[in-house]
């Protein structure tokens, strides 16, 4: 039988089963169940849990632990993730694998505590200073959170990048049936030849560093990072297409909003309207090819991008579709969430 789990708790359990053995966090609504769960759960599996004195401290503990080869993670919500940006930039330059969960709440500033998607730019375009990206996922259900979190450390190790799971307050708080995977066998993981495990003989030193003062060296490093992101784009891009084959209007949304959009598609289909849904699962790399392909379909007349923001992902939708078809926007923000009926009304009004 499946278990009923809250999004935050399911992510925490999936992280442990996927190999997380070090968690560093600082409380903030609406993701507190993740550190709370980890505080007792990691103790059971011989891991390390620290409630840091601040978000800045927490991300730098992740920096240290990841550098020492541990499967380390942190979680927070929007204002807390902003505080972590310096550390994330250093981690990216140092090419360290780790996992960061952001259960987004309304901003800017201290904002509110209700769900939002207004950190899309921050998550996908870098966030901190410098030329870097993370592998960013936007799961839409508790089961998808589990599946993505379970493999997140493997992906992070493979590319030596942080993986970010970009959720929202709803996804953290919602309870749904889930099936949890078995524990990963950590003894079978390959040794990280770059890590500072501290168990060497002194013959060769590994150094974790983000200072590359020579321009040629730093340029080469930036090119190496760019190559990594290009490889990620080739291998990791994920997208869900729903009833797009004959669609005249294509809704695009990610995360929980995509589920609201899916209900809107179902309502509109019952009314005989040819509407589909395109849902990016990886937000970086963005599924450009899938969007381009759908945009090139003759039947498709227009796109409707819907987000819990004033319009952020829409920029990637416009780039990916090459503006072949018009892209309309419907957004709510501040913690307010649209209903499927709101979207239906908008599509009927905008759709020609």
């Amino acid at each position: 039988m499946k278990e009923l789990m809250k999004g935050n708790e399911a992510i925490a359990e999936a992280a442990v089963r996927g190999g997380c053995r070090a968690f560093f966090g600082y409380p903030i609504t609406p993701q507190n169940e993740i550190p709370e769960y980890m505080s007792w759960r990691l103790f059971e599996v011989g891991g390390t849990y620290v409630q840091a004195e601040s978000e800045v401290a927490a991300i730098n503990m992740v920096y240290g632990a990841a550098g020492a080869g541990a499967r380390a993670m942190t979680s927070s919500s929007s204002p807390g993730i902003s505080l972590k940006q310096e550390g994330i930039s250093y981690i990216c330059c140092s090419r360290l694998p780790c996992v960061i969960v952001n259960m987004v709440r309304g901003g800017p500033g201290l904002g509110g505590i209700q769900p939002a998607q207004s950190d899309y730019f921050q998550a996908t375009k870098g966030g901190g200073h410098g030329d870097y990206h993370m592998l960013v996922y936007g799961p839409a259900s508790v089961q998808e959170c589990v599946n993505i979190m379970y493999d997140a450390f493997d992906k992070a190790d493979k590319y030596r990048v942080p993986v970010m799971i970009l959720g929202d307050g709803m996804l953290g708080q919602i309870m749904e049936p889930v099936e949890l995977p078995e524990f990963k066998d950590l003894s079978k993981l390959p040794r990280k030849n770059w890590a500072t495990y501290g168990d060497g003989t002194g013959e060769k030193r590994n150094i974790i560093n983000s200072l590359l003062i020579e321009p040629d060296e730093l340029e080469a490093h930036n090119k190496l990072l760019a190559d990594t992101y290009a490889e990620m784009a080739r291998n990791e891009t994920m997208c869900e297409e729903y009833l797009c084959d004959d669609a005249e209007i294509v809704l695009t949304a990610y995360g929980t909003v995509a589920r609201i959009a899916k209900s809107a598609v179902n309502i509109l289909r019952e009314q005989g309207k040819k509407v589909g849904l395109l849902r990016p699962i990886t937000l970086y790399p963005f599924p450009n090819d899938a969007f381009r392909k759908v945009a090139e379909q003759d039947c498709v007349k227009e796109f409707v991008c819907t987000e819990l923001s004033m319009g952020q992902m829409i920029e990637d939708v416009k780039l990916a579709t090459g503006m072949l078809k018009p892209v309309h926007f419907y957004g709510r923000c501040g913690g307010n969430v649209m209903t499927p009926e709101d979207l239906v009304e908008f599509v009927l009004k905008e759709g020609k």
Binding site: L4, G169, M175, E176, P177, R259, I260, T339, P340
Partner: protein
């Protein structure tokens, strides 16, 4: 089958647990379900609500515009959600705390004297379980045996309270 339920009341009335009981029963029955709590700055005595969608198929939107069933545990909840109930839907009213009658004529209304019946069951905290009994009967989505199995499972660590909860459930179910 897809049933959308909004449950609302004061914090401390067991609004969230009531929703969770329905969610656990769904899993027990192999159904799909989403349970979305409100998580505002509420506290005991403040308002609290949750949205539950039970379905045979995977649930798309966990957000409910018009519920099939509204369970109103206190007066402000009825005032807030009454107009949103789908025509032909139903409202379960905790008449112990709500003296008003529902003004709409296009929905079925069930008045449940939940707090008094909870007292009769021997535990004033079981008012939500009285309503769970009434919901089980009215919706017909779950058998009473499934709900009682869920109650037994949820209170496994506090077996002393199970008899009063069973009694409360039956009082609600047999209204």
């Amino acid at each position: 089958m897809e049933s959308k339920i909004i449950i609302a009341g004061f914090g401390g009335q067991g609004v969230q647990s009531l929703g969770m009981f329905i969610a656990f029963a769904s899993i027990h029955d192999g159904k799909e379900v989403t349970f979305l709590p409100s998580y505002g700055p509420e506290m005991r005595g403040g308002t609290s609500n949750c949205s539950v969608v039970v379905s045979d198929k995977p649930v798309a939107s966990p957000i409910i515009a018009s519920p099939d069933i509204l369970i109103a545990m206190n007066k402000p909840s009825l005032a807030k959600f009454e107009s949103r109930v789908k025509p032909g839907g139903c409202i379960i009213v905790n008449s112990s705390l709500i003296e008003n009658k529902v003004t709409r004529t296009d929905v079925k209304v069930y008045y449940v004297d939940a707090n008094r019946l909870a007292l009769e069951a021997g535990n004033t905290k079981t008012a939500n379980i009285v309503v769970l009994g009434a919901y089980t009967k009215i919706s017909g989505v779950f058998s009473p045996e499934v709900m009682k199995a869920v109650i037994e499972h949820k209170f496994a660590k506090k077996p002393k309270v199970i008899p009063a909860n069973f009694k409360a459930f039956e009082l609600g179910y047999n209204l």
